[in-house]
Assembly symmetry: D2
Homo-oligomer: 340 residues x 4
Amino acid sequence: MVIVMKDSATQVLIEAVSERLKSLGFDVHKVVGVNKTILGAIGDKRDIDLRQFEIMEGVQEVVRITEPYKLSGRTFHQDNTVVKVKDASFGDDEIHVIAGPCSIESEEQVFTIAEKVKKAGATVLRGGAFKPRTSPYSFQGLGEDGLKILKKAGEEFHLATISEIMRENQLDMMLEYVDILQVGARNMQNFPLLKELGKIRKPILLKRGMAATIEEFLMAAEYIMAGGNYDVILCERGIRTFENYTRNTLDISAIPVVHKLSHLPIIVDPSHGTGLRDKVGPMARAAVAAGADGLTIEVHHEPEKALSDGAQSLYPYQFERLMEELRMIAWAIGRKIKQG
Amino acid sequence: MVIVMKDSATQVLIEAVSERLKSLGFDVHKVVGVNKTILGAIGDKRDIDLRQFEIMEGVQEVVRITEPYKLSGRTFHQDNTVVKVKDASFGDDEIHVIAGPCSIESEEQVFTIAEKVKKAGATVLRGGAFKPRTSPYSFQGLGEDGLKILKKAGEEFHLATISEIMRENQLDMMLEYVDILQVGARNMQNFPLLKELGKIRKPILLKRGMAATIEEFLMAAEYIMAGGNYDVILCERGIRTFENYTRNTLDISAIPVVHKLSHLPIIVDPSHGTGLRDKVGPMARAAVAAGADGLTIEVHHEPEKALSDGAQSLYPYQFERLMEELRMIAWAIGRKIKQG
Amino acid sequence: MVIVMKDSATQVLIEAVSERLKSLGFDVHKVVGVNKTILGAIGDKRDIDLRQFEIMEGVQEVVRITEPYKLSGRTFHQDNTVVKVKDASFGDDEIHVIAGPCSIESEEQVFTIAEKVKKAGATVLRGGAFKPRTSPYSFQGLGEDGLKILKKAGEEFHLATISEIMRENQLDMMLEYVDILQVGARNMQNFPLLKELGKIRKPILLKRGMAATIEEFLMAAEYIMAGGNYDVILCERGIRTFENYTRNTLDISAIPVVHKLSHLPIIVDPSHGTGLRDKVGPMARAAVAAGADGLTIEVHHEPEKALSDGAQSLYPYQFERLMEELRMIAWAIGRKIKQG
Amino acid sequence: MVIVMKDSATQVLIEAVSERLKSLGFDVHKVVGVNKTILGAIGDKRDIDLRQFEIMEGVQEVVRITEPYKLSGRTFHQDNTVVKVKDASFGDDEIHVIAGPCSIESEEQVFTIAEKVKKAGATVLRGGAFKPRTSPYSFQGLGEDGLKILKKAGEEFHLATISEIMRENQLDMMLEYVDILQVGARNMQNFPLLKELGKIRKPILLKRGMAATIEEFLMAAEYIMAGGNYDVILCERGIRTFENYTRNTLDISAIPVVHKLSHLPIIVDPSHGTGLRDKVGPMARAAVAAGADGLTIEVHHEPEKALSDGAQSLYPYQFERLMEELRMIAWAIGRKIKQG
């Protein structure tokens, strides 16, 4: 921590801050300038509330110099983490695509879609069984019956499976059906849930909260990793801004930023990130061009009849065409997407 | 719903939209202008995904005309809801103040603070036993032991008690100790938790999520009320904006907006809303002046030793002085705050 | 400036940064910890682009320790600046209110309103002659003819006058008619205009840009003051956030923040800050309660016929009643608003 | 306009609204449902302040159905506008890149950079002569001397030229030196300046304001076009959000949105959009992949010595490599970037 004292800070005030730092176990180095005194506090303490210094008399500014995250940061883990699940891998040279319907609606629906996305090159099948709906009056998902369908389709088409977990007590049950557990944006800081997910040994797809800074995003991953589960895939899905034409503003720049700060793979969700079908293609292409390690895309063969999010789901033929474009873009930047 | 067709929309496209509306059960009224056709869809359907129309060919704009919330809205419930707990009431002419430490740390601490805030005029005692901390390495609260202390202090000083619930499985246990259950900002859209809280019959203090619109805030209240628990107190605690001098931007204008849209009481948390002790007083006064039905304020007798949020906690003498100012402001706008 | 080096930074990289700092004229102090090295750079240089260090190899974080503003900051000017114009003063114990129509429409209109607001206690008369309209097709103001009316009304009712300047070449002309020049939110960073206003010796009301941080706000004031014009009144008028129920989010917390960082007076514009008449009263009260040095409020005797912003204009009777409430709130916090 | 009346609105209130609409020249169509009445107001009026209806008694919601922009919108101008300047064209199948230093510093500097960027494939040379700096103490540009250098370099290397105009009275002078006039983000709503630019017949590059919605962006273009100058190139350069790791959040999704709403070309500025050199490449690639019609990129042969924005300037060798990648991405989506 670095503490900059005000020009007007007296010697007594400087000492008071210095003593407080020492009492917390820091080594304190004092830099005295003509007007300003700076206190450099050395010590590996990640859980200090900096604001206790900000409000001390004579203090102008307090700066943390240790990243608050450790396991998810690149400082102590230089090499990229590669998360592997069946044919999919996230974090190496290949770009993998998760595809499927927003909600699992029926076996016929899931099988129809699974066949199409597999053929187009997806390696993971998605489908929601428990839906976090803004309205209590909206369709809430098929529950465990849905997961059974998802698992069956995954086996039939040799696809890994992913579905969202909404509450801790669903965990044991869900582990029977899915290969990757998804944490939704609204649960990114559901700390008890994150802790439970730290105890298992299956990959977690962690979506960025709508108002989460990248630092908070990495801290949420830290919660899971602190429990011993290191297979975390990060997912950018749009942040909330003043611009309302799109549902959210997909923060494409989060991709290079996360790659710099963390060794974890990061993928992008252009479906929720835009909320509009005709924006999904351009943003998926942008994500791959910017270096994303994967994508998750909603596909539905009859989006106009979908029970949720039909408006942002691609038709299978659109998905197929998009995959072709993505393959060329991946190749342009030295990566690749396998043929289906 | 009102659907505005593009100038270029052909008759066929207009009919297609009209048919889709009818198939969903709406009565459709067509308004034909020189350039534009407008479709008015009449019917009480709150769970339609409007975007399915937005992406239909020929559609320019889709507008919902029914509020998505029902129980929490003022349309069907004109009179203010008054939530009463022991000596406190939220939603009538009196303004009530919740006060206490951020975290429960010890019996001595809670009793010391409780005595002070009671004397100054607070009617509810707050204290966190389970803390949602951004870092897994930070102090996480005393748990049930903390709640026992809180209950004891509440009884000793005739104060109602409030503490935050973080997970569903804490519910039964917490009901033994507290009079009001608090839902934190990060859990505002933890829908399974909200549903559980709808089943009980104790008041809920629901904090606004950092990136939640007022409509989403009311929809979260709707989740609780849809279960039959109508005693919901809303709490504005700051939204996330580009301005970072303060931790969050306390949205004071949410007070008159909520009062217009909803019959539920709304209080303000100036402690979390600013994160800085010297801003708590001005923002508490602003909240009362703008019409808030109450406040929740962090108070600590030794904030420099507090295990969390010391930087935003008032000293008891500051709280006492603030209560005096608030009393005068309340009086200026025709309300009142009782003497302690 | 403080530069924190990465744990992995080699001695060579540390030296390179140190040399760059010295070449720019800084005294460099090195603090060496177990893992980290911190460089404290001492020297009063306000115009260095910190990012040139951020991108140097081995650098983890760069922190400015000198505020970028000087004349507008409290560090070198402890006492409040009081801006006096005729009967009005901003920055002392009294709270002064600027009132009048959004646009000047006719002599009858301005005189009618001026008489009412004067009687209610306003000391400055506002009225727009050049209107910054989002649409080129909207009413753009009466121009100089409007200013003549404003001046006449000011003389008739002993009110100081204020109007917005939109371009440099209006300056000489406007100086003949108004006592305070207003810079609109969209021009807060119109640097050539700010420089011109630094050359004159009349007070400037500087509105905060919709997306301006408080630091940028003070830097804009700095531009004016650097030219020698120290009579700057700051005006908070709402920032742009994701919440769209209100036109902008009025940042009431900017009041105590500005009071801490700067000696300049700060007033609040609840009319533009909310855009809705029924929110103006609550937010005006909140502003005074939070410590604002004044208010600017749109008043119109026939708002339904106003050529602009009628929806946010108070009726004279509403303004009068509001002034009564504000007087009591001012009194509650030890300030006062004079009788009309 | 569509006006939705509240369930509780009486016949009298409905008539009042209807009358007001008629008095403004609208044709009014009434749709009466079981609970709700909807008024459809037909008429091409772009300059009505909708809020005057929002505050009328009995009104629940008011919805504009005519886009506020006309000349810049796609409704009345279906085909893409192609802006041609020398070898560059914006809006057709080719993607053109504007490159050069942030500030013009010397002839040697500009010529060195111009030669490099030309060779790499840029077709327009940029360079600032008047710099809008946040601090009055920062380097403000070489002025007209800089423009002379820019023009000379443009002629020498057969590149079109672009530079930013900051004030109206620079216009005549600048027209002698540059082929495209740039309007900076801070001036996007400097309406007097926009009006002046509408009178000339040279292309304008209009940057999106930091807090401007896409609708406001198109309205600013409308100001220029209303004067008769139709050659407007839009430029996305990052919006202000809560995320501060990058200077701004580059809104890549603005590209497909603008393409849908407007016929004007849109390019992207990844240099200002991120503020950090190592993020420029990924975001430039993302922009092209998402469909941008061009880019503007800061390049400097000695960025560590640049007088402004060195931290976000690419080295010439980085720019060259980036152009190669962009060529492949352009090809992948059916467009092309010419060889230098």
